[in-house]
Point group: C2
DNA sequence: ATTATAATTTAGAGTATTATAACAAAGATG
DNA sequence: CATCTTTGTTATAATACTCTAAATTATAAT
């Protein structure tokens, strides 16, 4: 009955690759799971069997309602743990992902509930990603990539992609955490280098970084 | 290289059954690991292979120095986590064992060190059991079973056996936590029922309980 | 010393997860 | 549209852990 850790991981991975509605491909899964494609194929058959996903050979997978519920539950665990590690144990935000990835399969509901309480029922993890509620609800905010802003616009950092720890550390060093206000000083042509003001400091960031940062509350200040 | 979770569990179990010097039997291990004896046999061969234990067929096992080091490390993780759960997350002391058992295999050294720091480098877990140091040192205290005390003696609770959660809850309800001062009011003949004063309250406990509680700092008050 | 009993080990097999190599389907190209 | 390339799947096998049933060894008892 209880899904294994591996099953949980696959379901979560499918959920996070799904992004909207498209089916997820075997190769995409193989890549994020760091596993051979053939391994994914056999796993997909099993997930279909277990009722977590619908798998059509050569066409990809998508989660069923049951799979979506499971995924949201794991994401909830993951993000709550990440926040707990940052807030209660002062672990740097670029090192909580791996840890949370292991904890998420191991924490009891009782302890998770307690963490949630200690944290004051937070809505977002340290990277600004929404923490699903117990019922599976997701707090939504409309965000835009920093790379889409134009010179002169002000905004607030909403979320930072957390896939690459090194990038996260770099972004953290720039002071670009969620809820930090920024202003676009300039956007250079061709390579799209963005000069951004963060508090007193200014930084020039490239497209790779600019596309990994999501912002909200955009104000166009005509000067 | 990295020992698997299962290997860690076996090594820890052997360590805790060893209690001094005797070899541990297959059936004892099978019981605590909740596994068939045949499973233990094959595992013991593997532990011998890996250098964690010395296994002689039909004679039992004992840990090597390497196995002992591993066991102490796991016990350290387990007990630190138990204390953290009780202190930081207010989980009742009779429910931390299972949780810690899962966490101990999953926590990074970094996070463990932080927990240790937050807790102020404690020497004992919530049940009074010693927490091994990073170097494998064990804080020792000479304790005696409560069942060995005589009427009129005073003492301080040092440690409570934590194998049976229900018993732990019961003992907790009696207020018999580590560091609590007690006085033996009476010991009944035959069944050995012990009347013990804890603060203002008096309780009568049986041998099963009295033998699960260890005390220190015994004072014989001749009245 | 022989036998009965209890403990332990071997043999054979199953589940879950993974991989490699060979084959098949889809999609892209000329 | 025939072919080439990419992507995905089957077949087969390995590893880690577990089990049941049968065989073996140790221990206790006559």
């Amino acid at each position: 009955m209880e899904p294994t850790q591996t099953v949980e991981d696959y379901v979560r991975a499918i959920y996070q690759l799904q992004e909207g509605a498209e089916d997820v491909s075997t190769s995409a899964l193989a890549e994020v799971m760091k596993v051979a494609p053939a391994t994914v194929t056999s796993m997909l058959k099993k997930l279909d069997q277990l009722g977590y996903a619908v798998y059509t050979p050569y066409q990809g997978v998508s989660l069923t309602e049951s799979g979506r519920r499971l995924a949201l539950n794991i994401v909830r665990r993951h993000r709550l743990v990440e926040l707990y590690l940052v807030q209660a144990l002062e672990i740097p935000w670029d090192r909580v992902h791996e840890e949370a990835h292991r904890w998420e399969h191991v924490i009891s509901d009782e302890v998770l509930a307690k963490m949630d309480e200690v944290l004051g029922h937070p809505e977002r993890d340290p990277h600004g990603a929404p923490i699903p509620g117990e019922n599976g609800s997701l707090p939504a905010t409309s965000t835009v990539r920093l790379s889409a802003l134009r010179s002169g616009q002000r905004a607030v950092v909403a979320e930072v992609a957390d896939n690459v720890p090194e990038m996260l550390r770099y972004i953290g060093n720039l002071g670009l955490y969620p809820d930090v206000a920024i202003e676009i000083i300039a956007v250079a042509p061709f390579d799209g280098l963005v000069t951004v003001r963060v508090g007193e400091r200014q930084h020039i960031i490239g497209q790779r970084i600019a596309r990994s940062i999501f912002v909200k509350d955009i104000i166009s200040t005509e000067e």
